[in-house]
Symmetry: C2
């Protein structure tokens, strides 16, 4: 995508900007740097907003939306911009609404509820909560940067979902503003609430297309007392993924259960220059974390190791935090080292039923052969949520075509297996061409009707979810984002 302004310089936009500066002095920024920074997210397609509005307090959002409604200005909300799908890209220009200023946290340790501004960084909240012996489990890989507002808008997942569930499972109440600027409170900081239609959960995962969330009441739980981490090597992906099923059958309840296929492990081993398991180069790997009360962790570990005995080719346990960190480093290295295969990565966070994961990975290998591109796959095997990557060189038109064809085939296969095209990233722009594979025309029409009911003018994050957008046809910008380590 070229850096371009789609609807930016209309007369309405100028009037809206003037009105906004009058009503909310000091919030509007239209210098080049501010606009560029707010023009993209982790998908790296850039589309300049006409201006960035930096919110100072929640009520600002009401004013912004009143004016946006009056002047017909597109409004795209953003936190850290760590979305993987382009959901924070202001595709139609207008205003980028930067909510990172809403960063208050209030923790009620008795009710076990945190009241959190949309702009609070996930890891910051977790640190504050854990300092009080409590726990907010959702842990998207972007957690050091991502904001709670963005996590809720995309219903973020992470590694711990297998035991603790997703962001949605921790949201009790949402405050924010509807498209016309009216304030809303959907749900409350209460454990039970069944009054009226549940618009709270409708907004969760709606990627800023139905309203703007300014604050959330989040459920907290007890912090697990103990953690244990182990890494297991397998001769094949099938052996590893059969073990995942066996493990649940046996009543093991892991807090994390990550899978790495041999392509991913190969990348990491090439990158570091040594095998992860001595004498077992290019194994498939399971990384397991157990947590809970010490007695429970002990018992679960015993059960796990007994089950692994005849299945694993090698294994390693972490006895200290430092050792555990080393095991997790393997997972991270896999993700980074894939760029040795090609310069561009399509990362598809698909989900299939647990017992279908082996078949999915078999399919990625067939696909690799068919399209001639690497398909390294890893992810949250405890949830059936594997990240299938297709690696290609952007400069090669033939490669790009094959990657695009491969992704379409993959999505078809996932849906055939009873799965879903996205487990934790959301639709945004990147998954929009696959909506019609996942959902019937009637289902999509119902979703569109609901969108229209809550945003009749179509000003909230326009162009997302429903309009098929071919990301492959657009050039990403070369930019270093805070979470880039390569």
């Amino acid at each position: 995508m070229k850096v371009t302004e789609l609807t930016a310089t209309s007369k309405n936009q100028s009037s809206a900007n003037r009105a906004l500066k009058r009503r909310l002095p000091g919030r509007l920024f239209n210098d080049k740097d501010s606009r560029f920074h707010a023009s993209l997210d982790n998908l790296r397609l850039s589309c300049l907003p006409n201006a960035v509005i930096r919110v100072q307090e929640a009520a600002d959002v009401g004013v912004v939306l009143q004016l946006a409604t009056r002047y017909g200005i597109p409004v795209t909300s953003r936190g850290a911009g760590s979305s993987a799908t382009g959901s924070a890209v202001p595709l139609k220009g207008g205003w980028a609404l930067d909510l990172s200023g809403l960063n208050q946290v209030v923790i009620d340790p008795v009710a076990r509820i945190a009241t959190v501004g949309a702009g609070v960084v996930t890891a910051d909240l977790q640190a504050q909560v854990e300092a009080r012996g409590l726990f907010f489990p959702p842990d998207p890989s972007s957690k050091k940067y991502s904001t709670i507002g963005g996590n809720i808008a995309c219903n973020a997942g992470g590694m711990r979902c297998v035991k603790y569930g997703v962001t949605r499972d921790y949201v009790l109440g949402l405050q924010g503003y509807l498209a016309d600027g009216s304030p809303f409170q959907f749900g409350l900081p209460l454990k039970k609430y069944v009054s009226g239609l549940n618009l709270r959960d409708l907004l969760i995962g709606s990627e800023g297309t139905l309203g703007v969330i300014t604050e959330a009441n989040l459920k907290l739980i007890s912090k697990p007392e103990k953690r244990w981490t182990g890494m297991f090597a397998f001769k094949s992906e099938a052996a590893a993924l059969k073990t995942v099923v066996a493990l649940f059958k046996d009543g093991v309840n892991p807090s994390i259960l990550e899978f790495l296929d041999r392509q991913s492990v190969g990348c990491a081993e090439q990158y570091t220059g040594k095998p992860i398991f001595e004498g077992q180069a290019r194994s498939a790997i399971l990384l397991v974390e157990l947590d809970g009360r010490p007695a429970e962790v002990r018992e679960q570990r015993k059960k796990l190791l007994a089950l692994m005995e005849n299945r694993t080719a090698a294994h390693r346990e972490a006895r200290t935090e430092t050792q555990a960190e080393k095991l997790w480093q393997v997972r991270r290295t896999c993700s980074q080292s894939m760029f040795s295969l090609a310069d561009t990565k399509l990362n598809e966070d698909v989900v299939v039923p647990l017992e279908k994961q082996a078949e999915l990975v078999r399919y990625t290998l067939a696909l690799k052969k068919e399209i001639g591109l690497a398909t390294p796959t890893f992810g949250h095997a405890g949830d059936g949520n594997l990240h299938v990557h297709i690696m290609y060189n952007r400069d090669s038109e033939a490669d790009a075509e094959r990657a695009k064809a491969g992704i379409h085939k993959l999505m078809q296969k996932v849906v055939e297996l009873g799965g879903v095209i996205t487990g934790e990233h959301g639709i945004g722009l990147a998954k929009s061409p696959f909506m019609s594979i996942q959902h019937s025309a009637a289902e999509i029409a119902a979703m569109r009707a609901v969108k229209k009911a809550l945003d009749p003018l179509g000003i909230l994050n326009p162009g997302k979810i429903f309009d098929a957008f071919e990301v492959w046809d657009h050039e990403p910008v070369d930019v270093r984002l805070p979470w880039d380590h390569r």
Copy 2:
């Protein structure tokens, strides 16, 4: 309310009935008994449908809704009819859609997912699940009769929510039909799913106003290995409810935590003719269940008893299942024995923050004085979800007026305290006059817009949630329902 037909005998209705009999032979019943049975729920206001459609398979629902759309026939879905709010009453006549025939259960013990027809009785599902060492926690008091479809349509709660959450927390996927008869699948039997707008959770708790659910994929968890039950007497409600807060502060994690005020206990004691605790007549009571692994239950019990030592006037522990059953009998007796106070009970399932429960109970006592009617209160103190009852004699017009005024005041107070007017019953007819206390005009307009988006003709359970209906002005019918024990 008189037994009356509101829209029943139009020409459209006759044409629709004929078309339905042609398309789905043997499903339509319009004999007097069938119609009366489907005319009411546990609110006991009766409104005859023109006919009852007894669904034999899920696809029947699609045909019913196609015809209802074509002919403009109101459709009110029902399972067991155990709703406390009138949500299953066919207020505008038309068709009562009886889903109790959809009673298949398929359990996947590895993925820990049950796929369940809308008509499956909650307790039957629980028995099947527990026979496999698994657990489906939601336990509305009607569970021996209520159906899963009704539980989902009302987002049912129960006693175990304090530890295990509500029905919504166990729903992964929903199948059913939209107002025009198109099939839908919102969510799937998968642990993660973020594709498109989340209409699954919008339908949960929507009381049959947005679509008809025919089948659900439900999450199962491990069955707790051990249970322990104890009952504790307190000098005052305040002492009991302060203990609730202290208990959470101390890290006690009860699976059930029920409160009974002195009015409720007084009723039970008068009914049985002896005090629950010898020498401690008319105490406030907490009933506590702990569950989990044996070591955990032991440790939690120790913590609980230490905390109770200087707080409780007397206590009793169950050492056997039979003894536990005796303790639970106390709770049930309270509920039944209230009718010694008056012949009519308004049962309001309000929720307030945990630390506000003592203030709420203080208010019920002030209200008792003010309106001169008994206000016995008990409920799920671990959730802040107290059932406040106002008891009055229906024959006395003055009493009825005072009861009505009392309920309005109570709801105002609940919202002032940061609470919600319904925690587990839903709105239906009974709570509809209080919607505008809970929600702003903009919030209600947003809900109505969503309702209209999914049911543009207004055929799905018309008259519910949004139109204020004064139940007090209508005469309940004298009928013995399956769950009546008095």
